[in-house]
Symmetry: C5
Amino acid sequence: MNLAKVLGTVVSTQKEESLKGLKFLLLGQVDTNGALTGGIVVAADAVGAGVGEMVMYATGSSARQTRFTDKRPCDAVVMGIVDSWEIEGEELYKKGERE
Amino acid sequence: MNLAKVLGTVVSTQKEESLKGLKFLLLGQVDTNGALTGGIVVAADAVGAGVGEMVMYATGSSARQTRFTDKRPCDAVVMGIVDSWEIEGEELYKKGERE
Amino acid sequence: MNLAKVLGTVVSTQKEESLKGLKFLLLGQVDTNGALTGGIVVAADAVGAGVGEMVMYATGSSARQTRFTDKRPCDAVVMGIVDSWEIEGEELYKKGERE
Amino acid sequence: MNLAKVLGTVVSTQKEESLKGLKFLLLGQVDTNGALTGGIVVAADAVGAGVGEMVMYATGSSARQTRFTDKRPCDAVVMGIVDSWEIEGEELYKKGERE
Amino acid sequence: MNLAKVLGTVVSTQKEESLKGLKFLLLGQVDTNGALTGGIVVAADAVGAGVGEMVMYATGSSARQTRFTDKRPCDAVVMGIVDSWEIEGEELYKKGERE
């Protein structure tokens, strides 16, 4: 999975039938400090993530295997809202402090 | 999925049997402002997207699971025409205004 | 899929049993003008493409689903010989004119 | 697979149901000298790797096929703790000496 | 598939059960001249490749479909030892001459 920040939402009315009902989030990939690296991805939301939150998302066939995306042709899904991460014992990100 | 702009079309007469009948679009990847980043991809069209429209496309095995591409050896498919996207409440792209 | 130019061929005598009989082409990825970008890939040939031709190739599990590669452990296959592509109505590549 | 160093851990309470119970490690990709290249990935741990250890991790559908991740929607898993690697007979990394 | 040079070997004692018995090679990706590009990958060996040889390797789900890796969670496998490759009729690599 990759770390990303939820930047916002993408609206698409005319879309593949089987994707209807899913919410699509615009994610910005981040580095270990939580800074945006420039890479973006559009991911379905499996956990109710909000704008500004740090998340981890999966790509590829795993993206079709959550409760929300089961058998739907998704290739990227937000799998979890990140509370914190630490590197060698130092907490580099903690939700609520660095968003 | 990724965001892209439909740049044009690709014509291929001599192709794998199972791809016949599909329309292939030439897509240019875009950043959050809708500006082209230089990356391109050839994707089958599952939604009737037109040149100049912003779309979201999926890659990998999900690309074989739309109505149009079911079980065909596609690895990239346009899944939706994008109406708009917003970042932290600001609309950065809206169809008809920034194409 | 991606656009590429057929640069040449790769010969491998000692190879995985199930790949025997396939022809392997060395492809160079191209940009929208048909210029090489530096990226290369070795792909099985499903359409009889020749050196110098522009092609589109697929990667991943779709590469195992053509007549020639069915169930063989391929991860890249030339799916079609490209006749032409156009961007916003302008033909940027036409076979026989820009090779 | 890729070589990486275990940088730390990622905590996510609100996550896809089927991922519960897995430990997520923050990995930093390394070059042949074991130096960090800047790329990061969040991987489930199938082998009990600790912070500072060099590991090899797999991505894609293989990540759902270990004892710990069987059928769970993972796209990256630590598959082994690396003891050493050598290039043309020279040992460039040995566990315990270069961490 | 991609072209790479076998740089050396990776030793991992503590690893996912189902990977035991496989030999892991450290590969360096090469360009059309056979020069290293800096990219590396750890691949299982399906053909008995030796250090210094040029090989082609596959990634993704195809990597689980050779005699040696059948159903094992591999994501990269050396599929063939390369004898030679040529570009537009010129032989840019021939085994035994440029290693």
